[in-house]
Structure formats: C-alpha cells, structure tokens
C-alpha cells in the first residue's frame, strides 16, 4: 500500500524524463494499456483453463474438461486478473514486490491531457471520478433499456415476445446493473471527485488503489452482461439471487455470483480509501464538525461498505460452492439451511440500501444549503443522524423476511428497529425543510432535483414504514407495492440525488456550464413521468398483482398499459440529459470557479481544479454552510486566492 507521502527508502535514481527504449508499436502492444489488457486477459484465460484441467487430471477427476468449473476460474478470476495486469494496474506493485526501484509517488499518472487518458490507469482522483461517472451512466443506459424492454412485454397480459426465462433474466440484470453498476459506484464517482477537494487534500490517500478500484467495475459489468451469452441465458433469480432457487439454475447464475464479487471488492477498496483519506488528510482546521455533510455522508457510507459488503461476498461464495463444488450450505438434502441465505444476504443488502442513500443525503444537503442561501439547519444533528442510521441499519435486515418462514420471535424486534430508523431519517427531512424555510431559494436544476428528491423520498419512506409493520407487509410482500416502494426510494431518491450532484458539480468537473433550460426540461419530464410510472404500482400492488411476473390478471391490463407508456416517456427524458451533458461538455459556456457562490473548498479553486487541487493546502477557519452570516468564512486560501484572481481577470 502506498500514500502520497513517499518513503525516501524507495527513492532511487530514476531518469527524470523516462523514455521507453522502444518504438510506438512495441509500446502499444507491450506497454500498459487496453491493448495489452486484452491480450494478457486472453493469455490468462488459457492459463486458467490449463490450471483447472491440469489439476483435475492430476487428481484423476472425470471429466477433465468441465466448463462449469473452467469458466468461473478462467473466465471470471484469472482472465480479469490478467486484464488488470495488462492495463497496468499492478505495474507499481510488481516493481515493488520484485525489489526493483519504484518511482516515488510523483503522480506521474496524474491528470488527463487528452480523452485517451481516460482509458488508462490513472491515479488522479478527478480523472477517476469522471471515469466512474461515465462508466456508471453507460450501465444506467443499458439497465434502462432492459427495463423498457420488459415493460413493453408487460404492456398487456400474456406473453408477447419474450419467453419466461428471458423475462426473468432481463428483470434480474436490470436490477443488478442499476444497483451494483449504477447507484453505488455513481456515488463513489461523485465522491471521488469532490471529497478530496472538500477536505483540502491533494488526492486520495492511496491513489493507485483508487485506480484499481475503478477498473474492477467494468469487469463486474461485463460479467453481468456476458451472462446473456451463457447457455440457458442470463441469471434469472432477481437481484436477490435466493438460494436454493439459484442453485439449480443454468450457468448464467455463476456470472452473477462472481460479478458481485468484483463489484463488491471495488466498493470495499474505495470505501477504505475514503475512510483513510477523511481521517488522515483533512486540511488544517478541518475538524470533523467542520466537514461538509457530503464528507460525513461518505464517511458513514464507507463504514457501512467495509462492514457489510463481506456478507454478500460470503453469500455468493456459498451459492457458487453449492453450485459447482456440490457443497450443501443451503441445500436441505445435504444438511444445509436454506433460510440462512436470506439472513446473510439481507445482512448486507439492507445496509446496502443505506449505502445507496446516505451519499445522496450528503449531496442534497450541499445543494439545498447553497441554493437556499442559508446555513443547513441542525448541522450536528444531520451528521449524528447519519451515524444513527449507520448503527440502526445493521439491526433491521429481517424485515425483508417477514413472510419467509423465519423464527417468529424475530419479527417484532425487527419491526421495532425498522420503525426506529424513521426517526433519524425524519430528522434529516425536517432539517432540509427547515433549511428551505425563509431561504432565498434559487430553483436551479440541481435544486429542482434536490427538492424532487425530498418529496419523492418522503413517499418512499412512508411506504417503507407500512412495509415495516408486519401485518401490512404480510399482505403487501411480493406484490407491485414493493416495486413502487423501491422505485420511490431508489429512483425518486438515489437517482434524483445523482442527477442533482452531476448538475451541481458539472461546472467544476468539466469547466463548462450545462444548459439550464434543458436541465429544467429534463427535471420536469423525469418528475412527471416517474410518478406516472411508479405511483400506479402502489395501487395495482395492493389490489394483488404479484411482482416479478411476466403474465398477470386481465384486470390489471389497463393500468399496466399506462405504466408502460409512462415508462417510455421516462426513458425519453434521459435523452435530454445525455444531449445536455454531451453538448455542454464539448462547447458549453466556460464556467466560473464558483457559479453557485458556495463556501466549501472545491469551489475556491478553478473549474476544473488545478492538477494537484491546491497550490498550498488551505487553512479552514469555520463551518462550510455559513451562508448569509456576516463575516463568516469557511477557509482561507493561501496562494489559492491567486487562482481565483486569474479567473476573474
């Protein structure tokens, strides 16, 4: 592991301007990069195959050539490792391990000079943040197209053009991509860009680990998508992949088991990095009680990730072992305990819903405070309620299992803790409203999304409280009411905050301003069509339409048709966003350093920020939200002030 401070021990004579001794073609093929990534991945795939076959031959197992084992090892372990080595993610460590001289952390991989630099291993947190965001929005698009596809199937009762296994596969891949490749990593992307700047740090604590965590993501995404090519189609057991159902499924399920491992490893590494950065690299004067709430949010989220994610890793390992090594963790015939899967899975996945929500809380706090020109109401309580959610979040997992046949005595305690979470969550909602109260509200696009979030999240939270009550849940579980709930909290909640964050920091990230009119159009289209799509689901759910079905009762036909039309409008509204972002990034008006007149540190440097963020680390002297407080300052920029003057000149 490495830090930005370098160990003099490692600094050995290294040519100042190191020129590789070979020509450009040689470098293209053998130098770190995507080309080397691809062929080394192929090489490692073959090595993995030989390894498995060799071991099976040596032990005399029959058949030697068993794809069910070869593919998980060669295709999902060794080939991805080869890819990572090929693109150069391990170069430094390989040098270090072999005892050869390594470069001191000179940030030579820093910054991006051309667009091609975004396709390389890069250690700059700003580049990595943008890599994350572009990648995750790509998967968002794919996941969204899948949804429109199966929504089209659902427009009428009966089977139209999909078969049942494909339908289930699409639903499962949709949810999996949205959760593991959009919401969780998109938040990591925003935080990657913003958190070090907010802290007054030149980069993350472990820049190379940061680069590695990003590159694990596309691997997970490719695995999930590649499952469609597997014989028998993609994994089709929902994003929850319940055992023992998952254990009798075709090969595609293994792609899910392993994809989750890569995505999980990526989020654990990033979370470690955030925690260490926040603890050890705050600017002088930046006490915990002066950190912006976005930093608080990522601090608590990262703790959740580090503690909870290993449980989903475990659960998927067990299923995979049951599938290919014939163990019986969850198969009753062999003495396994089937319900155990759900306990272990939800012990991660309930905290995961907060992993998908807390960073959004942070973004919204920044946006609302800056756009209402008022200090955030109850700053300390806002931070403490995050910590409260962190602890309570671990004590409610079994509310997903009220109808699963688990021990009866667990129900009421889980119901109580579930309802208790509404308290810290409520505190946050009321604080945002109090912040807005008598503020000078600027209805910019990020602000619209933040306000849209608050309203939609209240609806989602309320249906959550219904579901947290055992008697209601028993009636509503496994119906479209759940689908409505999760989309109000995840789309109206998390996704709205991601949009708010992207619009809010767009000028900082790109140095250009997005088109405000298109932004507002995007918001209103999304807001209206979102509600038109998901609100009726509450109703059809309570009327008894089960979730995850490709066929349903005639009586629900009309509403489902309306929902499908609305969902197409929702899909179309995303096109407005993409158009706005792309064309503004290319030729939007040049943005100010601080278009929102916000106080936190990232706005005190140029847009986009200088390569090392700060010429000198600033001195923090006050809270980050002192809008309208006479004489209040968050930080004194040392020579950073100069950068601002250049801007205004």
């Amino acid at each position: 592991m490495t830090t930005t401070q370098h160990e003099p021990e490692q600094v050995e004579a290294y040519p100042e301007h190191f020129e590789p001794p070979h020509g450009p073609t040689w470098r293209l093929i053998f130098g770190p990069g995507l080309v080397r990534g691809v062929w080394v991945a192929g090489l490692f795939f073959v090595l993995g195959m030989l390894l498995v076959a060799g071991l099976r031959f040596w032990w005399g197992w029959d058949p030697v050539w068993l794809w069910d084992v070869i593919l998980p090892i060669a295709g999902m372990v060794t080939a991805p490792i080869g890819f990572l080595g090929g693109i150069g993610a391990f170069d430094y460590w390989l040098h270090y391990i072999s005892g050869r001289p390594t470069r001191p952390e000179d940030h030579s991989g820093h910054g991006a000079r051309t667009w091609k630099d975004y396709f390389r291993v890069n250690t700059d947190h700003k580049v990595i943040g943008i890599q994350y965001l572009v990648t995750t929005f790509t998967f968002f698009t794919i996941g969204g197209l899948m949804a429109m596809f199966f929504r089209a199937e659902l427009a009428q009762p009966g089977l139209q053009f999909l078969d049942s296994q494909t339908f289930n596969g699409l639903v499962s891949a949709h949810a999996t991509l949205m959760i593991f490749l959009f919401i969780i990593p998109a938040f990591a992307g925003i935080a990657n860009f913003v958190v070090p700047l907010m802290l007054g740090a030149p980069d993350m604590a472990f820049p190379r680990l940061n680069a590695l965590s990003y590159w694990l993501l596309p691997i997970a995404g490719v695995l999930f998508l590649a499952s469609f090519l597997a014989p028998g189609g993609s994994f089709a057991t929902g994003w929850t992949g319940y055992a023992p159902l998952a254990e009798g499924q075709p090969l595609g399920q293994t792609f899910f088991n392993m994809g989750v491992q890569w995505a999980g490893a990526s989020s654990v590494m990033t979370a470690l990095n955030f925690l260490v950065t926040i603890i050890t690299m705050r600017a002088p004067g930046m006490t915990f009680w002066r950190m912006p709430l976005l930093v608080w949010a990522n601090f608590t989220t990262s703790l959740l990730v580090v503690i909870a994610t290993p449980f989903i890793a475990g659960s998927q390992f067990f299923v995979m072992f049951d599938r290919i090594m014939h163990t019986s963790f969850f198969t009753p015939e062999g003495g396994g305990y089937a319900l155990g899967y759900q306990h272990i899975f939800w012990f991660y996945s309930h905290p995961a819903v907060y992993i998908m929500m807390l960073p959004g809380f942070g973004i919204v706090s920044e946006v609302i405070s800056a756009n209402a020109r008022k200090p955030i109401f109850g700053y300390r309580l806002m931070a403490l309620s995050l910590v409260g959610i962190l602890f309570l979040g671990f004590s409610v997992w079994a509310h997903h299992m009220f109808v699963a046949g688990m021990a009866d005595w667990l129900r009421v305690p889980m119901m109580i803790t579930t309802l208790l979470i509404a308290i810290p969550t409520g505190i946050k909602v009321f604080s945002w409203i109090a912040t807005l109260w008598r503020g000078r509200i600027h209805l910019t696009t990020p602000m619209l999304f933040a306000l849209g979030f608050v309203t939609m999240f209240v609806i989602g939270g309320l249906s959550g409280i219904y579901l947290g009550s055992v008697p209601i849940d028993i009636a509503a579980s496994d119906t479209y009411f759940i689908v409505a709930h999760i989309h109000y909290v995840l789309f109206g909640g998390s996704v709205f905050t991601i949009f708010a964050g992207v619009y809010f920091w767009f000028p900082k990230m790109t140095g250009r301003m997005y088109d405000e009119r298109l932004g507002k159009l995007h918001f209103w289209l999304t807001f209206v069509s979102f509600n038109a799509t998901f609100f009726p689901m509450h109703y059809i759910g309570l009327r008894g339409m089960p979730r995850r079905v490709f066929d349903y009762d005639e009586a629900f036909g009309d509403l489902n048709f309306v929902i499908t039309i609305a969902s197409f409008v929702l899909g179309a509204s995303f096109v407005v966003f993409v158009y706005n972002v792309v064309q503004s990034w290319v030729r939007g008006p040049v943005a100010d350093a601080n278009p929102w007149r916000a106080h936190s540190l990232e706005w005190q440097v140029s847009s986009p920020p200088p390569i090392f963020n700060f010429d000198e680390i600033p001195q923090v002297v006050g809270g980050p939200y002192e809008y309208g407080v006479p004489g209040a300052r968050h930080a004194v920029m040392r020579s950073g002030e100069a950068a601002r003057e250049v801007q205004h000149a």
Binding site: M1, T3, T4, Q5, E7, P8, E9, I97, S98, G99, H107, G111, G200, P202, A205, F206, L272, L275, V276, I279, T280, M281, A283, P284, V306, I307, P310, F311, A313, G314, F318, F321, M325, H326, T327, S328, F329, P332, G334, G335, Y337, L339, G340, H343, I344, T510, G511, R512, V590, S606, P608, P610, I611, F612, D615, E616, I617, A643, V646, Q647
Partner: protein, 206 residues
C-alpha cells in the same frame, strides 16, 4: 477541457502536489491495513454465520459433529496450529530486529516465518487429501472446507506478502527508520494467525 485548465493555470509550473496535511497521528497505511482487516473479519464472520446456521439453527442438524463415521484430523491440525502460532513470534522478532538495525536477524526471522507458513499450507493440502470426505459429503464438510479453505487462501496471501518482504530485504531495503514494508505484512500475518486459532477451535474442537 484540459486546454481550458491550462489557460487558467498556464504560467504555473507544478512539480508535485503540496504535501497533504496530516490530520491524524495514525499512519495512513497502518489505518488502511486495520480497516482492511476489519473487512476480512466480517468475511470470516459470514462463514461463521453459515456454520452457525447449519449446525445450531438447523433443526435437522446431526447430533454428533462431524456425523460418524467421519472425523476431523484434530491432532495434525493441532500441530499445524503450533507451527502457525510460533511463526507469529518469529515475525515479531524479525520486525524488532530491523527496528534495531540487526539485518541478519531480521532476514533470518523472515525466512523462518515464511518456511513455517509454507509448512502450514502444505500440511493443510495433505490433510485435505487424506481427510476421508469431500465437499459433497454434507453440510459439515461444506463448513470444514469453507472455513479452512478461506483461511488457507489468507495464508497464501500472507505468504506472498512475506515473500515480497524477503526479496526486498535481501536486496538491501528496510532500515531502522523505514520498516513500514515489514510492519504491514506483519500485522496481516498476526491477523491470519489469530484467525486460525478461532477457526481451529470452532471447526475442529467444538
């Protein structure tokens, strides 16, 4: 996009980042390692949880564990435990030696630790071959191979880290002032050892 950045920051020659402010006395790398170990403990935790489910919660669990005629090689694993625990002490000795500047003691300590770790791993492989049951033989076997295998993977990772220290050590790296590269693998190794004691007592002895 970047050309714009250069326009603003033209003129400035950046030679490197400003040194980050150290806002905590804890060393970043040690903290990172400790958090990582926290995450690892949770991973083991999930394996212990599934063990708890199949053996305690499961109403159909066999009354004898492992169900006869199967047996766990408690004795061999006990010797293995002794080896691994000893290696923690030699690791500590190696670290103390480099802190005091005693190179040869440091190198000797590292090599002994490595050899003991390797002996542990090889013993485990042999144990697998002779244990008399396979992964498909029931939940007790799943748990046995799951926990010992997970731990074995950690030993392998630990050995890689130790091997790295040894290579660098023989190339003349590390000194009383700079021994982080020894300390971090050391912390990890101690974690692997302590975890083994927990695995051994729950899987073999309980």
């Amino acid at each position: 996009m970047t050309s714009h950045a250069e326009a603003v920051h033209g003129g400035h020659e950046h030679h490197g980042p400003p040194p980050a402010h150290k806002s905590s006395r804890v060393d970043a790398r040690v903290l990172g390692m400790l958090l990582f170990i926290g995450s690892e403990i949770m991973l083991f935790g999930s394996f212990f949880t599934v063990y708890f489910f199949v053996r305690v919660v499961n109403p159909d669990a066999p009354s004898e564990w492992p169900p006869p005629p199967y047996e766990f090689p408690v004795f061999v694993a006990g010797i293995n435990t002794a080896i691994l625990v000893t290696s923690s002490f030699t690791m500590h000795w190696a670290l103390q030696s480099i802190k005091r500047g005693q190179r040869s003691a440091f190198l000797a300590g590292m090599v002994i630790t490595f050899v003991m770790g390797l002996a542990f791993l090889l013993t485990q492989v042999i144990e697998y071959l002779h244990v008399g049951f396979n992964t498909g033989d029931g939940a007790f076997a799943s748990v046995f191979f799951g926990l010992t295998g997970l731990h074995g993977a950690h030993v392998a990772v630990g050995l890689t880290l130790l091997g790295m220290v040894i290579i660098r050590g023989f190339r003349g790296h590390f000194s009383p002032e700079h021994h982080h590269g020894v300390e971090l693998p050391g912390i990890y190794w101690h974690f692997v050892d302590i975890m083994w004691i927990v695995v051994y007592s729950t899987v073999y002895l309980l």
